[in-house]
Structure formats: structure tokens, C-alpha cells
Symmetry: C2
Subunit: 352 residues, 2 copies
């Protein structure tokens, strides 16, 4: 009997209380970072009601240009949290959902005990108040994004694509698109503000957040590593610039930075992931074209970092036998594989 | 020894594995509900790239007017989930955060084992794509909201107010404001879409979501109860309309519905909560005025429901010894008390 009870006790304790599927959250919440405030001069007059959507602005304030952050800290969290920064066209939801209801990517990493901080960049999602003026109106563009993001060539899906083909799921995916109400120069300050508030962490960027990610890391010692998913842009030392690369979606040029700044990127581990359906040769396919030049410039970027004694890696998923990934790797059907790869890289680089 | 092990085993099992502070999540994620889609006629042309923010819309689609929903289902969830619907001026963050970093209200209820579904109504937060056209520009209005929501009379706080006075926390609160990009007629369909997707649940509304909440519940048997925090509007049987009530922020009128529809609201438990700083008599204070008439009409609403054999309750918190609550009771310093009261009401009404 004694032996039985002892075994039962040990089993329970080592099994994390018996259910491996659950996520044990210690703390979670939402906060804002970055931003500015406009103060209108004069004395505030609260003697008259005008309308719910019209104000006498005199003497009032308006906070703007901040980012929103959703965070979850698991029990026994790993050493560094993950700072998730989304790309163009959407919001932080890309990290928090999949079109067909599987765990979002941040949830996958939470299950591996990473604290997760998912940002809505200024002007996106909940971070709606900005200093910019915008006219917002419907513009039908979903087929364009379906193509650009290499899900297929509308209405056809890429062969073997890791995207759920049910129309309801495609609908869920398209609805992740949301307006950008910002003036577009706020991403680097927002990333810095998050890293400064929370401290040492790993930047996980997608697409257009790639370039702001490099810039933030150059100046912010709180960024201990970067995992960039199909980044949209790259920095280079001003004297080691690659040739611009032409594609059907425009010219891709490296962004010059001072050598001493570029060298900051040699001091932290960096990994770049690219998915499938990216040919080496030019074509008429806009999705292929956009990412062809970005993949090729990514290789040069990694080469340049390592030439200066850095620790950068580029993982071209088809080359390691992982096929079918679109631009939205974190939501693809094999996102668990993508998460496992990230976890492995973090461990190997002493970032876990 | 045997006795010791047995005691240890029981202690661990009954203590939920030893740490009462953790939240055990079984499943969490994000999805969209409701909405529509615009299809532009013609054949989609993907042969040319125009610009990232300009499209040839021919043959393309645009999903719009949907709502976003963040959900978390704890292990051993209670019988009914809570559907959180935010009010005017903000997004679902009002349920997920507090200005000073305490647990958000949905987290408090999650700790009590309620599954939580927090909506961004169409046109708000992540649900940015709508069929409306909007000009969005800065408008300094934060002092107005500080007053309307009864935090105080800017720059003075109400005496004993349950709001954290640190300027950084006030900043966090103001940043919850975010534009509404919708055409304003989408809230009832969104609530219905959520309740239809998930099934039986309790509607928890704030402020301007109060009226859509009553309307959704009239037609949707999936809404098993309603907890309304300082609702902005009320329905009445068309032959039992109260007199309109004048206030400095406008005339408050009941919304007429057919008797057979109103009777639906007598079939589910309903509770309405109001906070502090709401006088019985008219004044020059816009915050006092706006909620004076709404509190008084709420009493008539509850009376009318119960006159028809309903199960409605109104809780005026100062009358039960809970002082200092603003319009944002769910974020106030005593939000844990507010959560306990809701939990108690749910239990008492067999909704837990």
C-alpha cells in the first residue's frame, strides 16, 4: 500500500498533475507601450454636452501612436519571453489564431513554457488611436493577398500547400486583414518600448516587421535573439550593400547602416525561416516574385552577418524536408513543426 | 508513513496540484463571427502589381462587418461560458486589462472556471474591416470621457473613487479608446453570431452594449442570462413605455418592442449593476446626468420585467456597501468584489 501511494504521488508530481494538454498560466493581461500625447491648449470646458462623437477639444488630451500587447506568462516560464511582432495588413491575431481553429502559434510556444507578448502595432487592431488622418474605405483585395502570400494562384491552391482549403477557413483567414491607421513610422519605437518595459527577450517577427526588428535590435540590448519569419527587408553595412534586386512587385534594396551598428547584429543569435513555393528564377507569379528576391537577399544578409563573426542561420524549409509552407508559416497546417523548430533553435542557442 | 502519503496525496489533489494562483487553460484562441462579403464583378487579374495599398478590385472579394472573439476555456469549465460585449468608444480590452496591471475582469472570471469569450465588435479593435467609409482623425476628448464615466471632474478625482490615480495608469486607461469604423448597426448580429456558434451562454454587457444585449436575447435562446454593467438603453413593451427622461446629455427614451418579445426577457435571469456617484437629482455634472436617467430607467425596466413574472435584479452598489465605482466597474480597484458578486449571482440563478 505504501509503495502504491508513493508511486501514485510521484506519478502525479512528475506528470504536472496528470494532464499534459493543459496550459498553466501564472499571469496574463494586456497593456500599452510607446506612443505620445497631444494636449490641446486652453481650459477644458465641461459645462456643455455637444455630441458623443464631437468635442470641444480645448484643454483636452489625446493619447496616440501606442501599441497594444497581450501577454501570458506560464508557470515555470523559460528564461526569455517571446515578443511577437506582426507584419503588413493585419494585427497580432496572426500569432494567436489559425484559420481552422488549431492552437495559435503563441499558444504553441506557451505550451513549451515561453512567456508570450503579442503586439498590435500602432494603428493596428486595438491600437487604433494615432496622430495620422486616414480615409478608410472598403477595397476588395483578398485574391491579391492569397497570391502574394503564396497560398496559391486564385482560385487554385498550391499543390501540397499547408493551408486548410475549406471556404469557411479561408474566410477566417481573410478577416485577419485590418486597416493600418498609423503614419507608418512607429514600429521601431513600439518594439523598443516593449523590450525596454519587459527586459531581455527574443524578438519573433513576421514579414514587414522584419526590418523594424533588425533596427530595434541594433540599439536595444534587451533583444537577445531574433527569429524572423520571411522578413520583408534587410540592413547591410553601408560599404557592403548588395545590388538592388528587381522583381514584379518592385525593387528590393538593402537598407544601409553604419558598420558599428550592423555589428550589433553579429552579437545575438538570428534565425530566418522561409517556406515553400519560392523559385530561384523570375516568373510572372507575383507571390513567387516578391519572395524570390527577399529569400535571395536573406541569404546575403546571413552571409554578411556571419562574415563578421555573427551567429545567423537561414532555414529554407523545403531544404530540410518541410514542404508546403505559405508566407503565414505560423498558421499553416504544420505550425506545430514550425514551433518545434523554433523551440529547438532557442535551446541550441542558449536562449531557452 | 502510509497515513502521511495518503494525506499528501489528498492535499495535492484537492489543492488543484498545489498552486491556487495558476489558471489551468484547456483551450484558447481567436476566431471571427458574423459579417458579410463584398464580391466585385469580373475576372480577377493577377498579371500586374500596382501597389501594396492600391488594387484592381475586379473579381476580388472583401470580407467585412465581422466581429473578433478571444476565448479561453479553463480545465473543468463551468456549465455556461461568459460572452463579454464592450461598449462605446473602446474594444474588448476593457474586459481583459486594468489600468494598473491587475487581472482583467475576464481573467478574474476565468479563475472561477468560467469559459470566457471576449468580443471586439464590428469595426472595433481587430475587427477593422467594415463596409462603411470613415474619415479617422485625432480628436482630443479624454477629459470628457473622464467626466462622463464618473472617474471625477477633470482634473479632480471623485472622493473615494475606485480608480488608480497614478498618471501612468490613467494613460493606460485612455489608450483603451479606439475608433469605431462600423456603420453602427452590426452589434446585434454579432452577438447573435457568437451565441449561435458556441451555444448556451451568459451575456455580459457594458454600457452601450446593453441595448443590443436585450435585443439579441429576445430572439436567441442561446442567451441563458444577462449581466449588464450600467447599460445605456432599455426596451419596454410598446404599451408600457416609460416617459422619456431629460438629461444634460440628451433625452433617454425606452425602445418599444412587442409584448411577446419583451416577455422573452422574463424567461431568463437578468442582473443590472450600477456604481457610485449617481445622484437622484439633476445637476450640471455631465457624468452624473448621463447615468442619473439611465439608473432611473433601469429601475423601471427591472420593475416591468418582474411585473411580468421575470427574474430581474438591479444592484446599486453603494446600497449594498460597495462604494467608489466608476462606469468601468470591471476595471476598478475593487473589480475582484465585482467579479465575486457576478459569480454569486450566477450560482444563485443556476447558471454556474
Amino acid at each position: 500500500m505504501k509503495k502504491f501511494l508513493l508511486i501514485a504521488l510521484v506519478a502525479i508530481l512528475t506528470n504536472g498533475c496528470g494532464v499534459s494538454e493543459r496550459i498553466n498560466i501564472g499571469k496574463q493581461g494586456v497593456f500599452t507601450v510607446g506612443g505620445t500625447v497631444i494636449h490641446k491648449e486652453g481650459i477644458y470646458d465641461n459645462s456643455k454636452f455637444i455630441a458623443w462623437d464631437k468635442q470641444n477639444e480645448t484643454g483636452q488630451s489625446y493619447h496616440a501612436d501606442h501599441a497594444f500587447v497581450n501577454y501570458q506568462i506560464p508557470v515555470n516560464a523559460n528564461k526569455f519571453p517571446l515578443y511577437f511582432i506582426h507584419g503588413y495588413g493585419g494585427s497580432g491575431v496572426c500569432w494567436e489564431m489559425t484559420p481552422d481553429g488549431r492552437d495559435g502559434f503563441s499558444t504553441l510556444m506557451l505550451r513549451k513554457r515561453y512567456a508570450t507578448y503579442v503586439m498590435d502595432l500602432p494603428g493596428r487592431g486595438r491600437a487604433g488611436r494615432t496622430t495620422a488622418e486616414n480615409i478608410v474605405k472598403p477595397m476588395a483585395d483578398e485574391m491579391f493577398w492569397f497570391d502574394i502570400w503564396r497560398i496559391g494562384l486564385w482560385p487554385d491552391f498550391n499543390e501540397g500547400v499547408q493551408f486548410p482549403r475549406n471556404p469557411e477557413y479561408i474566410t477566417q483567414f481573410f478577416r485577419e486583414l485590418t486597416p493600418d491607421l498609423s503614419n507608418h513610422n512607429l514600429d521601431i519605437p513600439a518594439i523598443n518600448a516593449l523590450a525596454d518595459k519587459i527586459g531581455g527577450g527574443i524578438l519573433v517577427t513576421h514579414s514587414a516587421a522584419g526590418y523594424p526588428g533588425w533596427k530595434a535590435a541594433i540599439h536595444n540590448n534587451n533583444i537577445k535573439g531574433i527569429a524572423a519569419y520571411e522578413p520583408g527587408g534587410y540592413v547591410f553595412p553601408e560599404n557592403e550593400m548588395p545590388d538592388p534586386m528587381e522583381s514584379l512587385t518592385g525593387t528590393l534594396s538593402g537598407i544601409p547602416v553604419k558598420m558599428e551598428d550592423f555589428k550589433k547584429l553579429t552579437q545575438i543569435p538570428i534565425v530566418i525561416y522561409f517556406g515553400d513555393y519560392i523559385p530561384e528564377e523570375p516568373s510572372r507569379n507575383l507571390g513567387s516574385e516578391n519572395w524570390r528576391v527577399r529569400l535571395q537577399m536573406a541569404r546575403k544578409f546571413v552571409e554578411t552577418i556571419n562574415k563578421h563573426n555573427g551567429k545567423a542561420t537561414i532555414i529554407e524549409l523545403p531544404k530540410i524536408g518541410v514542404y508546403g509552407n505559405t508566407h503565414f508559416l505560423m498558421q499553416d497546417l504544420n505550425s506545430d513543426v514550425i514551433a518545434d523548430l523554433l523551440d529547438k533553435w532557442l535551446k541550441e542557442n542558449n536562449l531557452k
